[in-house]
């Protein structure tokens, strides 16, 4: 027995029928809940920060906050954050690429690839406080590896200048989620490297090095670059790991913003807004760079 159902006017009734030709406005109305959510909890908060960065505490329009961004302290923290992000992006990019290569084209047994990909999925999530703890337990002052090196090989890490709670220690920790992310992003690109290209190049007389130089790297370069750019952004915005590892004592931009929020420093929220604005600008540039490079990468997979 056919129940004709709730047929009637309005966008809410019979929303699953395709045969009605709704006006575009009504169709977009279906996205209203999501758009409202995005507006309320993403766009407007960002907008508040944007506007606030051009205001002084009394609400008047000013560029003062942006000028304050050029203070040595702030400039230093931007530079430091950029350095950390660059180092972990390139480092994670290189080693992530090598690992991804090993499990895709490198002739490893097929089961290994699945395992590495799954593990990368987990490891790229394993950031923040637990990750910091894990590295403290490994390379902290009384960490396992630190004590092992001292007792087994007589090498004292911390006396030779290594410090987990420093730039290099932090970078080394960041790699733990950067590397797997690289593996996950670049593996599909490596899958797209057709076996016949390598065979054709061999057939035409090229050695391995020549294959990489003339064919493989040029084809992979856009994907590699776009992935490194993404990794850069990933590290730039990271807060929890740095906070948990260094207790907020490292001068990164996210840490600065965190301090502003809690009023830990000179209570100058407008400077905080400017910091936040600066960060959003960096992230936007990152995502633009990533998108542009990704488009170039897909040129080769089309043929």
């Amino acid at each position: 027995m056919a129940d004709i159902g709730v047929m009637g006017e309005g966008a809410r009734s019979a929303p699953l029928s395709l045969r009605d030709k709704r006006t575009p406005l009504r169709t977009w109305a279906g996205l209203a809940p999501f758009l409202l959510f995005a507006l309320l909890f993403m766009i407007l908060p960002a907008g508040v920060l944007l506007i606030g960065s051009f205001q002084d505490p009394q609400g008047r329009f000013t560029f003062v906050n942006l000028a304050h961004l050029l203070r040595p302290n702030i400039l230093h923290s931007y530079l430091l954050t950029i350095e950390v992000s660059l180092v972990t992006a390139v480092g994670g990019g290189i080693f992530g690429f090598l690992l991804a290569y090993a499990v895709t084209l490198g002739g490893m047994p097929p089961g290994i690839r699945g395992f590495i990909v799954t593990f990368s999925g987990v490891a790229s999530n394993f950031a923040g406080v637990p990750l910091a703890f894990a590295f403290i337990a490994t390379l902290g002052r009384v960490g396992l590896v630190t004590t092992l090196l001292k007792s087994l090989l007589g090498i004292s890490l911390y006396d030779s200048g290594f410090n987990l709670y420093s730039f290099w220690g932090l970078s080394f920790t960041y790699l733990y989620f950067q590397l797997p992310l690289m593996v996950l992003i670049i593996a599909p690109a490596l899958d797209g490297m057709r076996r016949e290209w390598r065979e054709a190049s061999e057939n035409l007389g090229a050695r391995s090095v020549q294959y990489w130089r003339h064919i493989a790297l040029p084809i992979l370069l856009p994907s590699l670059l776009s992935s490194v750019v993404l990794l850069f952004g990933n590290a730039f915005g990271a807060y929890a790991t740095a906070y948990a590892l260094t207790g907020g004592f490292i001068n990164l931009v996210p840490i600065q913003i965190g301090a502003q929020i809690r009023g830990d420093v000179l209570h100058d929220p407008n400077l905080g807004y400017a910091l936040a604005l600066g960060m959003v600008v960096v992230m936007t540039l990152t995502i633009l760079g990533y998108t542009v490079l990704q488009r170039r990468a897909s040129r080769f997979t089309r043929s």
Partner: protein, 355 residues
């Protein structure tokens, strides 16, 4: 003198035997097709010649020199792949010139050779195009030019036309053959399309389950198939059911009518045999004395354009009979009794199931 020689080549993949006992001598300038269905070992054998697979046993000689221990990038064979494998980041010119470039040839020489090759495939205007800007047929011609640019001693083609439309395939295979002939280059051509193999080859190697079934010219393969497999694989044919009478003498009976196959039958007296007969070998009302004659009923007449195909039912089998179209032809009526005739030599016994 054999230019390319394979001697007892064997290839095992673990427990699976892909190629066994493969021996072949190819003269210089010959175009030999490896023909067979999937999994028959034709591509594996080709890849062994190219060096992408290493034979488990056997030798492969090019110009008298054993190339098995030689790396694939040092063999001087040119390979054309099924899906073109053009380097997507390079223009046509750079693709074609790649082999010379990695060999360190001077730029002027490379440029000249590229122009030469473009002329050969009639694609000079495509010099600066990228692969993704070209059709499949164009890409394949460039792939051919790329393989030929390095002046290989042997040219290998791995199902080069399978990925293309039927019309383009016909045109391109003629082009490939013409180029091959003009250059006089020894060529191995792998295909599963028997029409392709028949139309362009000097000789055909029919393969099944890793073994060679028959080697011969297209004429020989088609008209004198050595085994039932070759007979049924090549061209269309009839399978006539008969009962063996005197197997050693090759006589059998169809519904009581006696016919002769002019060769021993693989069955005992009284057992069923199946005889393969080409449709064009059968004719209506054949008056030739020593031919076989069978009476049957005409069940269908199919007009195929230049060919008219009659279907005659006799002794439990349906025979297809092809004749050239002729507007003045007076054909018998469907349902009427007809007599068909065919030569004894035209009957090839088919392998029974399980043999």
């Amino acid at each position: 003198m054999a230019f390319l020689e394979l001697i007892d080549v064997v290839k095992h993949f673990g427990r699976h035997t892909a190629v066994q006992g493969f021996s072949l001598s190819a003269r210089e300038g010959e175009l030999i097709s490896f023909l067979g269905g999937s999994g028959c070992g034709k591509t594996t054998t080709l890849r062994m010649i190219a060096g992408f697979e290493v034979p488990t046993a056997g030798r492969i000689l090019i110009s008298g020199r054993d190339v098995v221990p030689v790396a694939p990038n040092r063999r001087g064979v040119g390979m054309v792949f099924q899906n073109y494998a053009l380097f997507p980041n390079m223009t046509v010119a750079r693709n074609i010139g790649f082999g010379l470039r990695v060999a360190g040839r001077p730029g002027s020489e490379i440029s000249r050779r590229v122009d030469e090759m473009l002329e050969l495939i009639h694609m000079s205007e495509f010099r600066e195009r990228y692969p993704h800007q070209m059709s499949g047929g164009q890409q394949q011609r460039v792939a051919l030019a790329r393989a030929l640019a390095i002046r290989p001693s042997v040219l290998l083609l791995d199902e080069p036309l399978s990925a293309l439309d039927a019309k383009i395939r016909v045109r391109l295979r003629a082009e490939i053959r013409a180029i091959q002939r003009s250059l006089g280059i020894t060529t191995i051509y792998v295909t599963h399309d028997q029409e392709e193999a028949l139309s362009i080859s000097d000789r055909i190697v029919v393969m099944k389950d890793g073994r060679i079934e028959q080697v011969g010219t297209p004429f020989e393969i088609y008209n004198r198939p050595a085994t039932g497999f070759v007979a049924s694989f090549i061209g269309s044919s009839n399978a006539l059911r008969a009962v063996a009478v005197h197997p050693e003498q090759g006589t059998a009976s169809v519904d009581g009518q006696e016919i002769s196959a002019a060769r021993p039958l693989p069955a005992l007296a009284g057992q069923e045999v199946r005889l393969q007969i080409r449709p064009e070998a059968i004719s209506l009302h054949n008056g030739v004395a020593h031919n076989n004659h069978l009476r049957g009923t005409l069940v269908n007449v199919v007009f195929l354009g230049s060919i008219v195909r009659l279907v005659v039912s006799t002794g439990g089998s349906e025979l297809m009979l092809d004749m050239f179209n002729n507007p003045h032809l007076a054909l018998p009526e469907v349902g009427s009794t007809v007599t068909v005739g065919f030569a004894p030599e035209a009957c090839v016994p088919l392998e029974m199931k399980g043999e």
